[in-house]
């Protein structure tokens, strides 16, 4: 296999460097071409890799240089191109390219135009490095760089205090995950003496299966995955991250970065197969997050926050899939999700622009007449994510539910949770659709809404095609060299389960239709009837408040204590105490310095005689014996 993987990486890196260094000097058109074009070039190279793999090329692990060496241990810079990483880079560069093109229109009036494209390219580069890296160290570097560029992009509008706070929150949460990853790397190196994937996969079986070491490694990796993918309990940063520009939400917080955790578990699937307890933890976290986030999604009113919770919920599905060993199903859902979630976010961006940056869905309406393209593509995205038959989301989600339901024990119950979540997904997505896009014109209708520019709508239309036909891509068989063949399910069970999930989605749809399109008065009734439960869900189960009480406030109190008590008393006290001690002592000794030359001479003479006497005593010329 002739690898062009370095060029996939270098294109966005070059775009980042040019836009970061010279972006202010270049005309906007050039900035846009460089920003979007570099990702497009990366996509073309990725397509070439795909073609090579499809025409029978073997996965390739190529070392380009040695980063550093210490004794017989060296860290190479090697890229690992197999079907899994190729699928990832195709989605990253493909969907990423469309989002970059969309950003040309979306950000056209922003003063930080070149800065935006520089950050976006930096993000794409980091994400590709994460995915293509052939050893754990470079994966962690990409991992951290992704966190950094995410921080920069969430806080892109740095004049907004909320954006800065959100960026900081995301960074702190991600750093918790980074620490987990680093400790996992330590443990792997201590026990197996390797950091590159090939060596790791060939030596992992030296560890006892299901033993403490491998379980600890997998759980620490999971900490990183959970933080990056916004799963429970490190999920609180994702809804706040919606403070960033909408293309950022589409690229980072829907299509690519948050799925890095799924990729990590899939990449390390040999480790997780060797640690069933850790894999089960992944599945449980995924299942619980899917349900948890979906319930929150039913009560929010900010269009981007609903989509953010929906993202958390969908990634929960992927975690569930990779946790129960249905890796191909998880990656399949990753791909379709990238299509329809990027589509939903970018369409939402058009809507937000049309309503002058108002994100409250209750203020929206009349979109079918005003923004027809956005309206229809959003509808396609909604159908796809809700799992309506023949749309992409239907196939990928079904595969996960089927894998979970056909498994024994707890995994069956996770499958039930996934089914319930599918119903909730259909409910909250159609609730959003009916309220925001206005089945009827709800209140104020005389607004003249303008459809977005073609540069914004064309990428959405392309993604809409993906959200429809993406389900027919044979991802599972494409990935079978990596993960092995999935367990076959009989046709009868297949149709039965598909019918079941469609039924659940229909129930969700009908509930949304009834409550939010047909009889909005009923929604009000139900909200008051559900009183405390609704409040609980609306406040996101008070997790933020809980973290505030448990971590933030005690942390602040501790910092205040250290600043007010420990710093002045203990630390300053010790430093000043030493100084004062010497000051006092020096006052005594200063009296020796009389300024009289003859007294100095006497001291010198006395000292010299003293030295002579001591030396003589040591050498044995005096009756006293000192030492040897």
């Amino acid at each position: 296999m002739e690898t062009l993987a370095p060029f996939v990486l270098l294109a966005p890196l070059a775009g980042f460097l040019v836009n970061a260094l010279f972006g202010r000097l270049l005309p906007r058109r050039a900035v846009a071409w460089i920003g979007a074009g570099s990702v497009g070039i990366g996509f073309i190279f990725s397509l070439n890799l795909l073609l090579q793999l499809l025409t029978g090329a073997q996965p390739l692990d190529q070392t380009y240089f040695t980063w550093w060496q210490s004794g017989d241990f060296s860290v190479p810079f090697n890229l690992y191109v197999d079907r899994l990483s190729t699928l990832m880079i195709l989605v990253i560069t493909g969907v990423g390219f469309l989002i970059h093109v969309y950003s040309i229109g979306y950000m056209r009036e922003d003063p930080g135009y070149s800065r935006f494209f520089a950050y976006m390219n930096l993000f794409v580069f980091s994400m590709l490095l994460l995915v293509l890296s052939g050893n754990l160290l470079w994966l962690i570097i990409g991992w951290a760089a992704v966190g950094l560029s995410s921080y920069l992009l969430i806080g892109f509008w740095f004049e907004r205090p909320t954006a800065v706070l959100a960026a900081r929150k995301a960074f702190v949460m991600n750093t918790i995950g980074d620490v987990g990853m680093v400790f996992a790397a330590f443990l792997i190196f201590l026990n197996l003496r390797v950091l590159d994937f090939q060596g790791l996969f060939s030596r992992v079986h030296q560890l006892p299966k299901g033993g403490g070491v491998i379980t600890a490694i997998c759980l620490l990796l999971l900490v990183g995955a959970v933080a990056k993918s916004a799963q429970l309990p490190l999920h609180t940063w994702l809804p706040d991250a919606m403070e960033g520009p909408t293309p950022v939400s589409a690229l980072i917080h829907a299509a690519t970065m948050v799925t890095a955790g799924v990729y990590l578990v899939a990449r390390m699937h040999m480790l997780y197969d060797w640690a069933p307890a850790a894999a089960a933890t992944v599945a449980v976290i995924g299942g619980v997050t899917a349900l948890f986030a979906a319930t929150i999604g039913t009560s929010q009113v900010d269009i981007k926050r609903i989509l953010a919770y929906s993202t958390m919920s969908q990634i929960g599905y992927m975690f569930l899939a990779v946790g129960i060993g249905a890796y191909a199903a998880g990656m399949f859902h990753f791909m379709t999700h990238a299509f329809f979630k990027a589509l939903l976010f970018m369409a939402a961006g058009n809507v937000i622009h049309a309503f002058h940056d108002d994100q409250d869905i209750r203020h929206m309406g009349n979109l079918r007449a005003g923004l027809p393209i956005t309206f229809w593509t959003f509808l396609i995205g909604t159908l796809s994510i809700s799992g309506f038959p023949l749309f992409a989301g239907f196939f990928s989600k079904d595969e996960i539910i089927r894998a979970a339901l056909s498994a024994p024990g707890t995994e069956f119950w996770l499958g039930v949770i996934a089914l319930i979540t599918a119903g909730l997904t259909a409910y909250y997505m159609f609730r959003l659709f009916f309220i925001a896009f206005g089945w009827e014109w709800l209140s104020h209708d005389d607004r003249h809404l303008h459809e977005a520019l073609p540069v914004q709508t064309v990428p959405i239309v392309i993604l809409a095609v993906g959200a429809v036909v993406g389900g027919y891509v044979p991802v599972a068989s494409f990935l079978s060299p990596v993960f092995g063949h999935a367990v076959e399910v009989g046709t009868g069970a297949f149709i039965g389960l598909a019918a079941l999930s469609v039924l659940v989605a229909l129930i969700g749809f009908l509930a949304a239709y009834l409550l939010h399109a047909r009889r909005p008065d009923l929604a009000v009734v139900w909200r008051t009837r559900l009183g405390p439960i609704h409040a609980l869900v609306e406040h996101k189960y008070y997790v933020d408040e809980l973290y505030d009480r448990v971590f933030v406030r005690p942390g602040l109190a501790l910092a205040r204590f250290l600043n007010d008590v420990v710093e002045p008393r203990v630390i300053d006290g010790a430093v000043n105490g030493v100084a004062n001690f010497f000051l006092l002592e020096a006052r005594e000794f200063r009296l020796i310095q009389t300024g009289r030359v003859s007294s100095y001479a006497l001291w010198t003479l006395g000292g010299a005689i003293g030295v002579v006497v001591v030396v003589a005593a040591f050498l044995g010329y005096l009756p006293v014996r000192l030492g040897g």
């Binding site: 200063r590 009296l591 310095q593 009389t594 300024g595 009289r596 030359v597 003859s598 001479a601 006497l602 003479l605």
Partner: protein, 101 residues
């Protein structure tokens, strides 16, 4: 007739003692300097004598070092004395106590 080695050491000791006592009791800076030179050269004499006695050049090399240091020291010292003289201060080492605490 060869002179015994201890006579050189005796002479060196006498010269050093003269220098030391003179350094302690005299107050004219120039005389103090001469006393220092006396002490240094007493040491030189001892070095050279013992060097000869041991048939080694080490002591001679040390003597050269001492001569060099003495020359440098005299340059600095005389320069200080000239400056003090120009400033119109009394030429008395016991009155030159600016370095006192």
């Amino acid at each position: 007739m060869p002179v015994p080695a201890y006579t050189f050491l005796l002479l060196s000791g006498v010269l050093f003692t003269m220098g030391a006592v003179g350094f302690l009791v005299r107050r004219n800076p120039l005389v103090v300097f001469m006393c220092i030179e006396l002490m240094l050269n007493a040491v030189n004499l001892a070095f050279v004598a013992i060097s000869r006695y041991l048939n080694s050049l080490d002591g001679v090399i040390f003597a050269f070092l001492v001569i060099t240091v003495a020359a440098a020291e005299v340059v600095v010292g005389i320069a200080i004395i000239v400056q003090v003289y120009r400033a119109g201060r009394p030429m008395d080492v016991d009155d030159l106590d600016l370095m006192k605490e």
